[in-house]
């Protein structure tokens, strides 16, 4: 399955990016372009919803890290929503659980942010 990326920005200024399918060496450029495009449009608070991601490899991780660097240059944030164990495992073995805020739902991410 290919990669589908959609996004919407809510009133609180957070842009949610829904990612669906496989993020790998072939499809990751599409996600990279989306992140660059959003930052160029002045969207600096990003929340990537990974719940429908079926596969993630290190190229995908690299794109997320690149996105994080970009938004941080604008005092922004890039956080994730992910509860799938097989995807979380990849973040753990690469040490990236310490780098990304990872939430169990979009609502939880919003609540933590509001505090």
């Amino acid at each position: 399955m290919d990669l589908k990326v959609t996004d919407y920005t809510s009133d609180d200024g957070i842009t949610v990016i829904n990612v669906e399918g496989e993020i790998d060496v072939y499809t990751a450029p599409k996600l990279r372009e989306k992140l660059i495009d959003l930052v160029n449009k002045g969207k600096f608070h990003l929340l990537v919803d990974m719940e429908k991601v079926e596969f993630l490899d290190s190229t995908g991780l690299g794109v997320l890290v690149g996105g994080l660097k970009r938004v941080r240059a604008h005092d922004g944030s890039l956080e994730l929503v992910c509860t799938q164990e097989r995807i979380l495992k990849i973040f753990r073995i690469t040490g990236l659980t310490k780098v990304f805020g990872i939430h169990t739902s979009i609502d939880e991410a919003r609540e933590k942010r509001a505090k």
Binding site: E22, D24, V25, Y26, F55, D57, S58, T59, L61, G62, R86, K89, I90, I93, T94, G95
Partner: protein
Amino acid sequence: MGTVEVAFSALPIHVRTARMVTKAVAVRSGVAEQLLDEVRLAVGEACSRAVEAHQKHCPEEPVRLALTDAGERFSVAVSDRAQSQPEDDGLSMAVIKGLADELEIVSTPEGTTISMSWPTR
């Protein structure tokens, strides 16, 4: 005991093909269901690495993947013919090291072979 060998052009889209073949052979070899995702991911990482190295150094050469069911182990070897390795493969190697049950990396002037294996039932 049986081996499946695949040679594929060094293109990112074929990494997906390599993952699909790996999963199919792993299932046949008796790799446990809960290990399949890890096997697929680790082999995909090794193939991505090889594709990247070939694109820089020898884009015409195919990347080689050998899958062997050796009774109690399912073994995979990914071989590249690149004379030097990808510059930025830290994440990729971290994933491979984290997921392979046994791992051996052999680099020679002719290229690198990453061999991984997992237990079968």
